[in-house]
Structures are given as C-alpha cells and as structure tokens.
C-alpha cells in the first residue's frame, strides 16, 4: 500500500503551488485582522450576571472610569485651580467622555451658619474660580468636610485631587485607543502645572495592553527564531535545517492570521506569544524531520535527497502526525473554557498548530528533497551520545536500570508533596495583574489607592418591587448597615450610597451637627430633602423611581481569590441584612472578570479532562491497548502535578496565561512519550528481551528528546521577556514543565514500558498486509483477520540469507517460524549423513515440535533463498496472549492440527518404507 504521506513528494510542484495559493488566500484576510485588548473577553460568556450588569450600567451609568490623578503641594491656589479647570474643560470636550466628577462638577450641601440664624447652602463645590486666597481656603475646607468627597475626589490632606471621567466610547462611536490618546493630549499642557499628573483607566489599560501586545509580538518572535536557529545549527549543523522551521513558521503565521482575519477572530493579548509558540512547537517536528532526513541520506543512491526524504516520511510520518494531533488537542482543549480570552486564543493557536502541521507534513519533505543537504553532519549511530545529552542519557539509563522501584517511589512521593502544595494555588483574572510589577501603571494605581481610593469598583444592587422603596427609612438603614459591614471587612476602600447623601443633607439641615449625620427619620423628610438634590447627583446611586439603589464600592484588590472570597462574604451579609423584601446582587465588570477566575479552575479541569481522555483514547488506539493509553499518561501527568505544586509554593496564581500551561505542556510533552513508545514498539519486535528493547529505545531517543526539550524550554523561556506578567509566567512554567516531562519520560516511562509489550496501530496495519500473504498458512487457519494480526504482532520478524541455518539440529529453543518469503529445506543429520526431509515455502510452519516440547531440535532448517520469517517465542506468546484466550486456543488447535498432519505423514512414510 502506498503511504499517503508520501503524496506531496510525488507531486512536488502541485504541493508548492497549493501552499502558495492558500498563503495568498490567507494573505487577503490579513488586513481584516482585529486586535482586541478589551475587557469583555475576560468575562465568562456563561456569567448569569451579565444581563443584570448591562441593565444596571444603563440605569446608573458605566463603571468604566478613568481617573486623572493631580497632585501638587500648592493645589489650592488660584493658578493651580485655574490650570485644573482648563484641564477639566479640555477633558470634557473629548468624544467618549460622558461626564466628569471633579471639584468643578460635584455638588455640595452644607450648613451655612454665617447666615442669620442658620441656613443651608447647596450647589457646586466650585461654581466659578475664586481669585481670593481666603475664598479658596473656604472651598478647600468645604471639600474636606464632605465625607462624599474625601477619598473620592480629594485626598485627606487636600493635596491630591482626582478628575473621574466616565467613559462611554461606544456611545460616541469612538474607540478606547482614541479616548486614551485624547486624554493624554489633554493632559500634556497641564503637566507643567502640577507636581504629579497621570491618568489610569480602562482606556489606558486597553491601549497599553494593545501596545504591549504589538511590542511582544515584535520582540518575542525574532528572539524565539534566533534561539531556534542557534539550537538547530548546533544540533544538526545544517543551514537548510535551520531555515526550514523559519519558513514553516512564517507560512503558519500567515495562514493563522489570515484565517483569523477572514473569520473576524480577534488577536488578543495571549496571542502575543503565538509566533513564539509556533516557532518553538512547530520547529520540534521540523527538527525531527530534518534529523530523520539526514540520518537517511545515502550517497550511493541516484537521487539521494528524494530517497532520504521518502525514507524520512516513511519512518517519521505517522509519529509526527500523532504528535501534531496531540499538540493540537492540547491547544484545542482550552476551547472548553468559559473565558473568551482563553477561548479565542485556543482557537487561534489550534489553527496555528493545525496549519503548522499541514505545512510541515506537506512542505518539509518537498524542501528537503529539493534543497536538503547532500551530506549528513550528524552521527549515524543514534545511540552514541556526546556532551550534555550523553551525560544525561547515561545518568538516566543508570538510574532506571538500577533503581526502578526507588524511582517510582520517589516520583509518587514527590507527586504527593507537590499535589499538597498545589492546594495553595490562588486564582486571579484581574487585568492589572497582566502587567509586570515594574509597569508604571501598577505604581500609579497603588498611589491612587493610597491617596484616594482604589480604581476598581463594583456595585451592591438592592431592588424592591415597590416604588419609592428607597425613600423609606427602613430600607435606607439597610444601606447603612451593609456599608457598615463593608467597612468592617476592612478590605474595600470606600462605599457610597444614597444613604450617604441623605445623611449629609440631614446634617446640613441641622446646623452641620455631626450627631445628625444619620438617615432622616421619615419618608416625608427624605422626600423633602431629596428636592434639594439634583437628579444627576442621585443618578449614580438610586433609580428614578427609587425602586433600586446601589452601593458603589471602590477597592484596589487585584487578587481574584481574595476579592471573590470577600465579595461572597459581603453577598451573604447583604442578603441577610436586606431581608426578603429586597433582592440583592453584587455586580460590576471587575467582579465578572474576577469571577471568571473561578471559571479558570473549572475550565482547567474540563480542558485537562478532555485532553487526558483524548490522549488516552488516541494512545490506546495507537497501541491497540488501554495499557498504552495509561503508560502514555503517567509520565505526563506527573510534570503537571509538579507544575501546579510549584505555582502553589511560589504563589504564582492561576490566571488566563498560566491556566493554559497544563494542557499545552502536556500536549507537547506527550510527543516525547509517543516517540519513546513508537520506537520501543519497533525495537521490541526484534530485541532479545523487553529490557533490551527499552535500553535500546532510551539510547536512541534520549538525545533527540534532551535536545528538543532544551530547545523547547529555551523557546518558552523567551516568553519571560514579555511585558505581560501572565505570558512571562506562562513561559517560565511551560519551560519548567517541559524539563519535568523530560525527566519523567526518561526515568519513569522506561520503567513502566519495560513491563508491557505494546503493539502500535500502524504496525497492526502493516501486519494486516503481511497476514494477507499468510492467509493460507495452516498456523492461522480458521482465524479472523484481527486474531491473525494479534498473533503475528506477538512474533518477531527475522531475515536469513540463503545458505544460513534458521534452526540448528540438536539445539534446544522453544520457538517456531512461519515463512513469509523464500524457501527452506529441512535436513536431518544422522550418522554423518544429511537427509533432506522436506522443502517448505511461504506460509509454512517450521520448528513447531521444539515450540511445543522442550527438547533438542530433531532437524535443521536451512534457507535455500534469502528468507523472511516470523519467529514465535513460546514464553512471549504465552504471556502476551494471556488475555486473548480465543487467539491462543485457536493457535494451539492449529499447531495440534499441523503436528497431527506431520505425524500422520511420518507414519505413512514409515509404513511405506516397511512395505518396500
């Protein structure tokens, strides 16, 4: 049967033209590629709070705020206030800025005891710019006396103020990037006026994430490519070998980005590592292929490149296809997560891996057959190792030959300890945690939190079915009680509700006496107080019909675990305080984003389970045994446990970046296991024992495994240079996991493997064709194709040259042979005379007596032509077919039949002799 993977080599021009055509088509889609650095993809699509949140934002205004931080020791001077107002004016004209809360827009209500008797003054805190310092001092005093302003728009020392911009970019048909640019432009002229001036908000975070994304893609990809070229040059000493991964990566990226453009899949921040990942992961297959090609090079053939390429495809095609499949499954497993960010990346990376796989399988053999090296610089003896790989291989071999039990025990103990450490794993999904700690935005956010209140906010929403519910004192008291609970929690910076406004008004109407800073005693008084407040003042805290009220909570918690636990505590308390008449919800974009962190865990479990099942089934199918599936999983689950343990130990949180490490690393690490098992499967057919086969497998595979793993680890380590903390963490963990996987594959896999015999599917398929030539063999009479294959796969194939002996008379060996090809003669030596007993050919069985009975061989079997035979070892057959009793019994029956016939023939022959 023709190997379909050879097809590109048979039609090289068509293959190249096809790849060019696809590349051009994908290139057309490139201009449509979009970049998404927004927060919406951080929210789980299944979040039930989303509709309620959207409704709340429509009613109470957006929680997307940008805070302009202004600090100056002389803030309360006419010049500075004038500069501040100019800044306010510039900011208020920016498209997308819905409104600004600052010293010029907030309304104050206070007791005015300077009037005759007493009075109340209401209005903007600064309605017009004062010029007299005394007036300025009075305004400052008023600002600091209002608890709604302090910590919100003005610091306790009065030296810092904030302009809080409510941004609704969509409403003004603009973009976050445009808003951010406009804000920066507005800030620029004011920088000279103030000691410290900066802005932090969603638009800046989005813009910076976008900038970092492009920067990362520009930096990481060339760095990865450089490392790859160096590693390949060192390992294979082939310029073509170094160029090939670059070509496949460039094409894969074009295909991927083009397809994303066509299908409007946005490029998100996780995609910053996509080029590096393709370079790193894709190159491993390329390297294997180039190495395979170089090994297969023979100078004595007429077309050495083409011949070597064909051999390479024949030998490596299936394992590489399998590794591409597992890597693809690894990346695709993340599709099952609920978070858009990860899901979009999973789709993008799966496309990239699939594209890379197709390009590799189609193009690499073609390139090698056309411009591949004609001389191989790599060592022909795959089991001879030098340098670091050699030392490591010898160390691993020594360890798993001499201390197998100790190794298994150590692995189990280590896994246990790390699993325990993994319990400390924290989860976070806060966008601020995506930045590196040295990013200015982190320091600035901390400063805002310190001087004012945290930038992050959420709402405690309370809803009644009755109109004017939140004019009733009992419900207002509930707001106060919940706010008191929030204060007691001690983790949130401040909370604001309608109750605060009413307490302020109540105090103002009672000569400013602090003892009247409480909720009005009656609904009527509340309603009358409310007349003194403008609707715009109340809009952020209560609905127009007073059926819904919200408590605005500001904080600076960036750890999702902490936030989620305190929010859960608050929710429970709020529900309890609110009672059955009020429906309580805790809502906010930040809450949904951080809440999605919980989905990271469930998504992780789901993705990992899908991957485990997929790999288990794939490997079980590949090795026609569930044991194969289990063996493939063991050395790859241990590194994942170690990785989670390290995260727990070092406090690295599970975030959208690190959450992907497990499945991606496993999808890649399994490749080494596949190569090991595939090679072991081949070798175990011809080796004298399983142990020998394992030893030989490790000897042959260890070096490429060490080299490719080091290359992978280095490639992942490049991601440490990322400006995104989550990508750097991903890189570090993935690199570490690759190294763990190398250790487990070289230490644990051989130990487990040596106890089991595996039969690969492709070997099974080969055997299927073999058994077609043996369908008339009496050994397999009345056996199904599957049974015949299973029996054949237990055998070992041997080749014997013409004239050589297959069986030596007088020797004890419990095995028998089925002739696949060629003819043999059966000779009995007796009294120095050789008597030819029979001549046998394809399908015939020889040595069956020695197989069933532990006795000296009664005759020799010599090859008359070059022959191929299948050798059936008694012990191996007995062991391996233990779980296949039908096959075993049929084989035994057939052997009995053959022996019976032979006996009958011998008796007849003896009878004839007597008659003669």
């Amino acid at each position: 049967m023709t190997n379909p993977l050879i097809t590109p080599l048979r039609h090289r021009i068509i293959t190249v033209l096809l790849i060019i055509l696809i590349t051009v088509l994908c290139g057309i889609g490139l201009p449509s590629l979009e970049i998404d650095s927004g927060f919406s993809s951080l929210i789980s699509s299944t979040n039930p709070d989303k509709p309620a949140y959207d409704k709340l934002v429509r009613e109470f205004g957006t929680d997307s705020r940008t805070l302009v931080y202004v600090h100056d020791p002389a803030l309360w001077s006419a010049d500075k206030l004038a500069a501040l107002q100019h800044l306010h004016d510039r900011l208020s004209h920016i498209a997308g800025v819905d409104h600004i809360d600052d010293l010029f827009t907030v309304r104050n209500i206070r007791a005015d005891n300077t009037a005759n008797g007493s009075g109340v003054t209401s209005g903007h805190l600064i309605d017009h710019l004062p010029t007299q310092q005394a007036n300025i001092a009075t305004i400052r005093q008023h600002a600091l006396a209002n608890p709604l302003f302090v910590g919100n728009i003005i610091s306790r020392d009065g030296l810092t103020t904030a302009l809080i911009l409510s941004i609704d970019a969509q409403a003004d048909h603009t973009s976050d990037a445009a808003v951010n640019q406009a804000i920066n432009r507005a800030l620029e002229p004011a920088r000279a006026n103030f000691q410290r001036l900066f802005q932090v908000g969603e638009s800046r975070i989005n813009a910076e994430l976008r900038q970092l994304l492009l920067g990362d893609m520009g930096l990481l990809a060339p760095l990865s490519a450089l490392i790859l070229v160096v590693v390949v040059l060192l390992m294979l000493r082939s310029i073509t070998g170094a160029l090939i991964p670059l070509i496949t990566t460039a094409l894969s990226l074009s295909w991927t980005l083009g397809i994303m453009g066509w299908f409007h899949l946005p490029l998100n921040i996780l995609c910053a590592m996509l080029p590096s990942l393709i370079i790193v992961i894709g190159s491993t297959e390329d390297t294997h292929m180039v190495a395979g090609y170089l090994r297969a090079l023979r100078s004595d053939t007429p077309h050495p490149r083409l011949a070597a390429a064909k051999v390479m495809v024949h030998e490596l095609g299936v394992p590489i296809l399998l590794t591409i499949a597992t890597t693809f499954i690894g990346f695709a497993s993340n599709i099952f997560t609920g978070m858009g960010l990860i899901r979009e990346f999973a789709i993008a990376s799966s496309i990239a891996i699939a594209a890379n796989g197709i390009i590799t399988m189609m193009l690499v053999p073609v390139i090698l057959s056309a411009i591949g090296s004609k001389k191989s610089a790599i060592h022909q003896d795959a089991s001879a190792h030098h340098g670091l790989p050699g030392i490591m291989v010898r160390m691993f071999q020594h360890a798993n030959q001499h201390y197998p039990r100790l190794l298994l025990l150590a692995a189990a103990l280590l896994s246990g300890v790390f699993l325990w450490q993994a319990m400390n794993l924290k989860v976070t999904n806060d966008p601020m945690s995506y930045f590196q700690q040295d990013n200015p935005i982190i320091a600035q956010s901390t400063l805002i939190h310190h001087d004012l209140s945290g930038m992050s906010m959420f709402y405690v929403s309370l809803e009644s079915k009755r109109q004017l519910a939140f004019q009733k004192p009992e419900n207002l008291e509930k707001l106060v009680e919940i706010q008191q609970f929030i204060a007691q929690q001690g983790v949130f910076d401040r909370s604001t509700s309608l109750a605060d406004y009413l307490m302020l008004v109540n105090r103002a109407f009672h000569h400013g006496e602090q003892r009247f800073y409480h909720i009005p005693k009656s609904q009527a008084l509340t309603a009358q107080y409310l007349m003194t407040l403008h609707r715009n003042t109340l809009r952020p805290v209560v609905s127009y019909d007073f059926k819904r009220a919200i408590i605005v909570v500001r904080h600076n918690i960036t750890d999702s675990s902490t936030l989620n636990s305190y929010v859960a505590e608050l929710r429970q308390a709020a529900v309890s305080i609110a009672g059955p008449s009020l429906h309580v919800r805790l809502l906010g974009e930040g809450l949904m984003i951080n809440g999605a962190a919980e989905h990271l865990i469930s998504g992780q479990i789901k993705s990992f389970s899908v991957l485990l099942i997929a790999i288990f089934l794939l490997m079980s199918m590949m090795f026609t045994s569930f044991k194969g599936g289990v063996i493939a999983l063991i050395p790859n689950v241990i590194p994942i446990i170690l990785m989670f343990g390290i995260m727990g130990m070092l406090g690295i949180p599970l975030n959208p970046g690190t959450a992907m490490v497990a499945v991606i690393a496993m999808g890649i690490a399994i490749d080494n296991t596949i190569h090991l098992l595939a090679r072991y499967n081949d070798l175990s057919r011809n080796a004298a024992s399983f142990t020998d086969a394992v030893r030989q497998t490790v000897a042959e595979e260890a070096a490429p495994m060490v080299t490719s793993t080091l290359a992978l680890a280095l490639g992942f380590a490049v991601l440490l240079k990322s400006d995104f903390a989550i990508i750097a963490q991903f890189g570090a963990l993935a690199a570490a996991t690759m190294l763990f996987a190398l250790f487990t594959n070289l230490l644990i896999t051989p130990i487990v493997m040596s106890r089991i015999r595996l039969v690969s599917l492709h070997r099974m398929l080969e055997t299927f064709w073999q058994q077609r030539s043996l369908e008339h063999s009496p050994l397999f009479a009345d056996m199904s194709q599957y049974q015949t294959c299973k029996a054949i796969l237990i055998s070992e194939s041997r080749k014997v040259k013409a004239g050589e002996y297959l069986i030596q008379q007088g020797v004890i060996e419990r095995c028998m042979f089925v002739i696949l090809d060629g003819t043999v003669e059966v000779i009995r030596h007796s009294n120095g005379e050789a008597v030819k007993l029979a001549e046998l050919g394809r399908g015939d069985l020889v040595g069956e007596v020695g197989f069933v009975h532990d006795a000296l061989r009664s005759a020799s079997v010599r090859a008359l032509t070059d022959i191929s035979v299948l050798r059936f070892d008694y012990e191996r057959l007995r062991t391996d077919l233990k779980y296949f009793p039908r096959v075993m019994s049929q084989l035994n029956f057939n052997i009995s039949t053959i022996l019976g016939k032979r006996l009958h023939a011998v008796i007849q022959k003896l009878g004839n002799k007597k008659e003669v």
Partner: protein
C-alpha cells in the same frame, strides 16, 4: 390709590401705547428697545397665582412630576416675591420655597420642609445660576430681565415659515453680573408679532449650556401674552425641566402680602387662597 395700582395703570398704558405702535416701525428698533417693549407688554400684572406642574426629565427620559402653586407679587418698591408651594406628591406636600429679589439687586431664598418642623431655613445656592429644587430653572429665569445690568445687541432677525423673530444678545455689563448669573451671553428670540420672548439660549464662555423655550403661548389681554409651558434644557447635565401652567389668575386677593410671611408659610394647616 395704592402705589402698585399706579404702577399697574402705568404699565397698562405703556403696553397699550406700544401695542398701537406697529412692530415694524420705520426706524429700526434697537435691542434694548425691543426688550423694554417686551417686558412692559408681558409683565403687566404684579400679582399672579398659577397652579403648575413641574416635570423633571433626566437623561434617560425618566420623569419626576410635582404639582405646585406659584405665587408672585411685585411690591411697590420693586421687590419681587415668589413663593412656590408644592402640593403633590403627598410626601412633599406644603414644602415651600420663598424667593425675594430686592430692588438693590440682592436676593434671598428660604425653604420650608414641613417634615423638619415649623421653621423657614435660609437656602442659598452657591451656584451662579442657582437652580432651584433639582430643576434646571433659576428663579431669575422666570422673572423679567433686570435691564440695567445688560447690554442688548440686536442681531440679524430670524425667519422660519410664517414666524419672525427679533434676535437680541444680552451681554452682562459687568463681570459681577456675569459671575452672579454664570452666563457670559444670552441670545434672546423675541416674536415680532407680539414681542413675546419664546426662546433664550444661555452661553458660558461661548458654549451653549442651556436653553429655555416657551410654548402654548396664549393671549392674556389685548397686548399681553403668557406661555403655559416653559421648558428649560440643560445641555451640560443632559437634564430638562418643564413647567406647565394649568391655571393663572391675576389678582391681588389671591396673592396677599401675608402669604409671604414666615408664619404663614410654615403654618401649613392654614387655609391658602384657592382658585
């Protein structure tokens, strides 16, 4: 005869005189003349009682409706007294706002919240364009212009369909006036047919900040007209207020001086003049 009666007669005579003069005089009218004619034509009565509903409309279109009675009294010395007494909803019933503008230019405002006790509280607006009780109106917006404080510049007339307007820009004479009102300019649209101001645009530093429009303009007498609906739209706040006048009575008996006395205002059990 009381002083206010002479005032009233004088205003009526002047109104009659102006009404007999065609709006399109041979000599073009100045902005100041148009404003003067408009004021004396449409502010003829010193005692007005109106039952009104005030509707506050927020940026989402949600409405908050209140009913009230507005009492207006112009004293002989030129003091302008306005009392707004709310009648609905029940929770704010009898809440009152008393605004007094003295001839010397200063003004005062007091508020009565019945739920707080029987006392009038001085209520100051720290804003230049002191809007009252959550509305977009300042008390001054509902009173005739203090002409001595403004320069009036006539601009190009405006025509639309059958309607013709004089367009006048009112510019504060002093920074103090500008600071007090918060406006650097007002553009006033005066109907040429009856000298009724039916639109005022308020500007601050060149930016349109709010707009008042008058609707349902009804003839009161031969010369005087009055709007039954006044709308103020605040562009900065994305908020608007509408005052609908359901009934209007001109008569001293309906607006006695005692009505503006603190005891009368705070005694919400007292019998108030009814229509």
């Amino acid at each position: 005869m009381h002083c206010w009666q002479w005032n009233r007669i004088g205003l009526l005579l002047m109104g009659l005189l102006y009404s007999l003069t065609p709006a399109y005089a041979s000599e073009p009218l100045t902005g100041k003349e148009i404003m003067h004619r408009s004021i004396i034509t449409h502010y003829q009565y010193p005692f007005i009682m109106e039952t009104q509903s005030m509707v506050l409309v927020d940026r989402d279109g949600h409405r908050d409706a209140r009913k009230l009675t507005r009492y207006f009294r112009r004293e002989a010395d030129g003091t302008l007294k306005t009392l707004l007494r709310f009648t609905d909803p029940e929770t704010i019933r009898n809440t009152a706002l008393l605004a007094i503008h003295y001839p010397d230019g200063h003004s005062s405002m007091q508020i009565f919240l019945p739920a707080l006790g029987r006392r009038l509280i001085d209520y100051h607006s720290s804003d230049r364009n002191g809007k009252f009780l959550g509305s977009d109106f300042a008390i001054e917006d509902l009173l005739p212009d203090q002409m001595k404080d403004y320069h009036y510049q006539r601009k190009k007339d405006r025509h639309q369909d059958d309607m013709h307007w004089f367009v006048i820009d009112a510019l504060p004479k002093s920074q103090a006036v500008s600071d007090a009102t918060g406006y650097t300019r007002r553009r006033i649209f005066v109907r040429q047919t009856n000298l009724m101001i039916d639109r005022v645009d308020f500007f601050s530093d060149g930016q349109l900040i709010k707009r008042m429009t008058r609707h349902d303009i009804q003839r009161v007498n031969r010369t005087m007209w009055a709007a039954n609906m006044v709308r103020m739209e605040s562009f900065r706040d994305h908020h608007s207020s509408v005052i609908n006048t359901n009934s209007r009575i001109f008569g001293k008996d309906y607006v006695p001086a005692s009505l503006f006395a603190p005891d009368e205002i705070t005694d919400h059990t007292s019998r108030l003049p009814q229509q």
